[in-house]
Symmetry: C2
Subunit: 144 residues, 2 copies
Amino acid sequence: MNAPISSPVSSPALTKNQNLVFDVLTRAEAPMSAYTILDKLRDHGFRAPLQVYRALDKLTEFGMVHRLESLNAFVACAHRESECCGAGHGHGTVAFAICESCGHVSEFHDHQVDHRLSDWAKSKGFKPAKTTIEIRGLCEACAA
Amino acid sequence: MNAPISSPVSSPALTKNQNLVFDVLTRAEAPMSAYTILDKLRDHGFRAPLQVYRALDKLTEFGMVHRLESLNAFVACAHRESECCGAGHGHGTVAFAICESCGHVSEFHDHQVDHRLSDWAKSKGFKPAKTTIEIRGLCEACAA
DNA sequence: ATGGCACACGTTATAGCATAACGCAATTGA
DNA sequence: TCAATTGCGTTATGCTATAACGTGTGCCAT
Ligand SMILES: [Zn+2]
Ligand SMILES: [Zn+2]
Ligand SMILES: [Zn+2]
Ligand SMILES: [Zn+2]
C-alpha cells in the first residue's frame, strides 16, 4: 500500500505524503518553509526533510504548489478555477505579491506582462522554461 | 586605514573588501554564489562568509550588484549607462534572463512590465518594496 | 584633546535550506 | 515471472546565511 490513493481535492491522485503536505499548505495563511512543514507533520510520521521535499517536488510539478524563490518557501496554489487562460490547472506564468509584514501572498496573472516578457525572449532567441515574478512589499492592511 | 578608499569604477567610494568582491563579480561570466566568491578571494585574505556577505549587501544597496533569487547567486549590474529611465545607477525594477546551460545572464528593463505590475499593486493597495523578475531557460546559443 | 558615535572589519559558532546515496516495498505491464 | 518504475524511509552531507562578539579607525561635538 504505497502508491497513489484516492484524493479528495486534486487533479492527479496524491499519495499519502503528498496529501499531508498539501493539506498543511492549504491551511496555512502564509508561505511555509520545507522545515516548518516537516515540524507540522512529525505527528504524522515525518522524520526527515526529504519526505517533505519529495512531496513538494511532485505538488509543484502538478501545479498545486508554488515555490517562492525570494523566500525559500512554498504556498498552495491560489488560482481561482475559471481563470482567464487555460481553465483548471496547468497555468502559465503567475506573479506573487508578498507582504513582508503579515506574510500574506496574492497570486495573480497578467497577460500583458506575460506577453511582454515572452516577446523579449523571442526577440533575443531565448527559450524560457520557467519565469519567476515576485513583488515584496506591504499589503493594503499592513501599509496603513 | 579602514574606511572607504578611492575607487576606480564605482559611484560611492568602495572599501577594499567591496572592491575585491566587485572585481571578482565583474570578471565572472556567470552568477557566483557567496561561497564561490569566498574561495576566489582566499588569496586576498578572505577567511569567512561574512566578509563576502557584508560586501555584497553594500554593493547591492549601491545598485552595483544584483542578487538572483532563483539561484542564490549574485551578478555585477550590466546596465548600460544611458539606459532609458533615470540615467546612471539607482535603476528601478529590472528583469533577468538566465541560461540554465551556460549560465549567461541578460539584464534588461521593460517599462510596460513595470507599469503593469505597479498598476496591479496600486489597484490592490499593495506597496511594493522590491520586485524580482527572473526567466530561466536557454539562451540563443544553447537552444541550438 | 577626548569622549562618543558610526562604520568597516575579523572570527567563531550556529541556524536554515537542500540533496546524495543507500536500500526496501509496492505497482505495473511485458 | 521478471524487469522497470515509483514512492518511501534513513543517514549523512553540503550549501546558504546570519548571530554575536570584539577590534580598530575616522569623525565630530563638546
Ligand atoms: Zn497557481
Ligand atoms: Zn500584510
Ligand atoms: Zn542593474
Ligand atoms: Zn546558454
